[in-house]
Homo-oligomer: 411 residues x 2
Amino acid sequence: MCITGQDVKGQFLELTANSSQRLRRTNMEAILAVMRRSDAVTGTDLIEATGLARATVIAVCDDLIQAGWVRELAPQKVTVQKGRPARVFEFDARAGVVVGLDFGSEKTTALVADLRGNILGKATESLGGFTAPDAQRLATIEKALGKALADADARHADVLVAGVGIAAPVDRSGNISHSQLFWESFDIGIQENLRDRFGWPVLLANDANLAAMAEHWMGVGRGVNDLAVMLAGERIGFGLMDSGQLLHGASGRSGEVGLLDLVDGVGTPEGIAALARDMAAAACKKGSPATVLATLADISGVGITAEAVFAAAAQGDLVSAQILDAIGRRMARVVAIMATFMDPELVVIGGAVAASSSILLTPLRTELARYMPNPPRVEVSTLGDAIVTLGAVRLALDYVEKHALNLDLGD
Amino acid sequence: MCITGQDVKGQFLELTANSSQRLRRTNMEAILAVMRRSDAVTGTDLIEATGLARATVIAVCDDLIQAGWVRELAPQKVTVQKGRPARVFEFDARAGVVVGLDFGSEKTTALVADLRGNILGKATESLGGFTAPDAQRLATIEKALGKALADADARHADVLVAGVGIAAPVDRSGNISHSQLFWESFDIGIQENLRDRFGWPVLLANDANLAAMAEHWMGVGRGVNDLAVMLAGERIGFGLMDSGQLLHGASGRSGEVGLLDLVDGVGTPEGIAALARDMAAAACKKGSPATVLATLADISGVGITAEAVFAAAAQGDLVSAQILDAIGRRMARVVAIMATFMDPELVVIGGAVAASSSILLTPLRTELARYMPNPPRVEVSTLGDAIVTLGAVRLALDYVEKHALNLDLGD
DNA sequence: GACATATATTTAGATTCTAAATTTATGCCC
DNA sequence: GGGCATAAATTTAGAATCTAAATATATGTC
C-alpha cells in the first residue's frame, strides 16, 4: 500500500543490486571486460586493473573458468622470472562463435567470428533477386550460414547470437518498418526462421547502421565517437553515431534519406543512382567513344546500374569518371546538410562507390569546404563489401558482451 | 607486469563494484531513485519496488536520513489502519536547491528550483546588449541570481549545482565553440566566476539543447524519446534527442543549422529572421495600412526584428500574419530535411515564434505532409520564454540525481 | 482485555569482500 | 645440493552486507 497513490511495485527491480551474489556478478563482469580487452593476464594484472584484492580476483577467475568464459594457460616463461610463477588467464575467444549476415537484394553473405571478432569463416550465396519466393531465399540464407560455419570449422550449436543486416529500416525492437511497400520484400521472417531452426537469438538491424558500427569498430572511424557513415550504391543511407551511440529514430528510419529533392541540385530521392544512369545513358546514346562503361552495359544487357558505373570508373572509363565527379559534387551537398544537423567529426563513404574513391573524394571534399566553414573530415571506407557483414558481427558481439553471464555456453 | 604488453593498470577501476560498501551504495541509489519518483513511501512500498528485504530497506533509509537526502514523516493516518503504523519516508526536496540560468544576448533569467523541480524563485535582468563589458554582464548575472534566490527564500550556500544556457555551441566538456567569432561574446567566464564566487559546480549547455531537455521533461515532449525541438527567434537552432539522449556532435554544434541556403527556398543561414525583416520592410515601404507591425517598428525605433513581427502577428496584424504564413512554409522545408535524417516522433516549435502558433502551425503541417509520406507530429511549445531556463534547471537536476551520494549537503 | 494484523526490530546464517599471515614454486648464489 | 630472495597463491581471520526467520511493537476490533 502506497500512501500517496502511485504504485511503484517492482518498477525499479532492475536498478537494484541486492544480494552479495549480485556483487560477485558485477566483479565477474568487470574482470571479464578486462580480459576481453587484453591478451593473457595474470592475477597481479587484474589486481592492478580492477583494484580488487588478490583473493577475490583468483576466486572470480576460477568462477569464470567454471562458467566456460576463461581458460587457464600453462605458466608462461618470462625473461626475468623471480618468485612463484603466476597463473595465466585468458578470455576464451572460442567459448562460442557469432555469425553476421548481410541479407541484400541480390546476394547474401555470412561471416563467422570468434568472440574477439576474428573472422573464422565466410560464404556468399546468390539470392536470385526480389522475385524469388521467401522460402527459397530462407533456404539460400541457411546454405550460406552452413557454408560459413563449415569454413570456420564450427557447429550450429556453437553459435551464441546472429546479427543480420537488411536494407530496410528496423526499429529498436527489431521490427522492419513497413512505411514503404518496397521494404516489405526484406521481411521474410529471418528472425523467426533462424530461432526455430537453430535456437539462435537473432538481432536485426539496418545495413547503414551496421556499416557505421563496423567503421567505428575496425574501420577508419575507430576511436571516432561522432561519426557518420554513408552507404552509397543504388540507394543512399546514413548510419549516424553520436557519442558512440547509434541513432535509431522513432521508427528506425534515422539516416534513411528520402527527401533529397528539397536540396538544391540533388533531385529525386534516388538522386545519385538515377544521375549515374541518366548520364551514362546519354553518353552512350550520343555515341561517345566505346567506353568500358558501354561494354559493361552491353555485357549485362539489363541496362546500366550505378554499380556498373562505379566499376567502370575504377577501371579507367572516362565517361564514368565524369559521372563520378558530378556525383561527388552532389554528395557534397547531401553530406553538408547532414553535417549541419549532426556535426560529426568524420564522414566515411562506404558501399559500392567506395571503389572509386580516388575520383570521388576530390570533388566531394572541395565542394564540402565551399559550403561549410568547418567541414568534417571525409574518408573512404577500407572495409570493402564486408562493411555491413562486419557490422552484423559487431552487433552480435555487443550482445554477447552485454549478456555474457546470462548466456548458456552449453557443453 | 602484463605478459602480453598492454598495460591495463587502473583502466577499469570505474567498472568495478568491489567492496560490500559499494553494494550498500548501489542500494541507497536505488531506493533514492524510487523515492524521487514517488511521494511519501513506507518500508513495505520500498520492499515491493526494489525486491530488497525489510531489514535492508530500513537500514538504507536510516542511512539516507543520516546523509540528509530523506526525511521521516509522522506516521500517516490511513482510512483502514491495521497493525503497527508504518514509518513514512520522503525524499527531501529541500535538501538543497538548483539554479537554472538563461544567458541571452539582451537579458538573463534565473530560476531557483527544489530537488523535485518545483520552481521556487525567479528573476530577470537586462544585460545591456553585446557591447556591455564582461565584468558588468557578470555582475548583472549575479544580481539576477541573488534576486531569484531571495525570491525562493534560499541562500547561496543551499545551491548544489547551477545549469547555464547560452546561445552558442558547447561541447561535451562544457567548452564554448569558437568556430565562429560571434559566439565568443558569450564566453565571458560564467563558469569560473560562479565557481570562484560561490563554490557551485556550473554546467554550461547550448540553449536549443536545453529547450529539448525542458520539453522532454515537462513540455509537450514528455514521454517522447525521439524528439526535435526547434528554437526559433532571431536565429534557429535545434535540440535533438534520440532514445532520450541529447545529441552533441563533435564540437557541440549538432542542430546548429548554418547551411539552410542549400535547401530550396530557404536562403541564407539566418533565413527566417531575414525573411521576416525583408517582408516587413517591403510592406511598410509600399504604404500598407497602418499595421500594428509598423507601430511596433516605430516604437522600437531600431528597425523591425523577427520578434516584433511575431508579436505583431499575435496581436492580429495582417501583414505579419502573411509573413508568418511564409515563414511556416519555409520552416516546413527545414523541418522536413531535419526529420529525414533524424526520424523524430515529434517536432516541438519553441522560442519567440511559438507565440504565433495559431498562424504558423497550419502552413507548417500542410507543407510538411507534402514533403514526407510519414511526417513527424508537430506541436508548439507551451513553456513560453522559460523554455531554456527550465532546461537549465533540468540539466542541474540531472547532475544532482547522478551524483547525489557524492555531493556534500553541508549542514 | 484478548486477538488479529502490519510493521519494526532483532537474531542467526550466508556470501562476499579485504587484509594479513602462511605456503608454494621458481631462480640465483655459494 | 642447500639456503635465500622473490612473487604469487592460498589460507585465515575479520568486517560489511545481505536474507530469512523469529521476536517485539503499535494499532484497531470485538
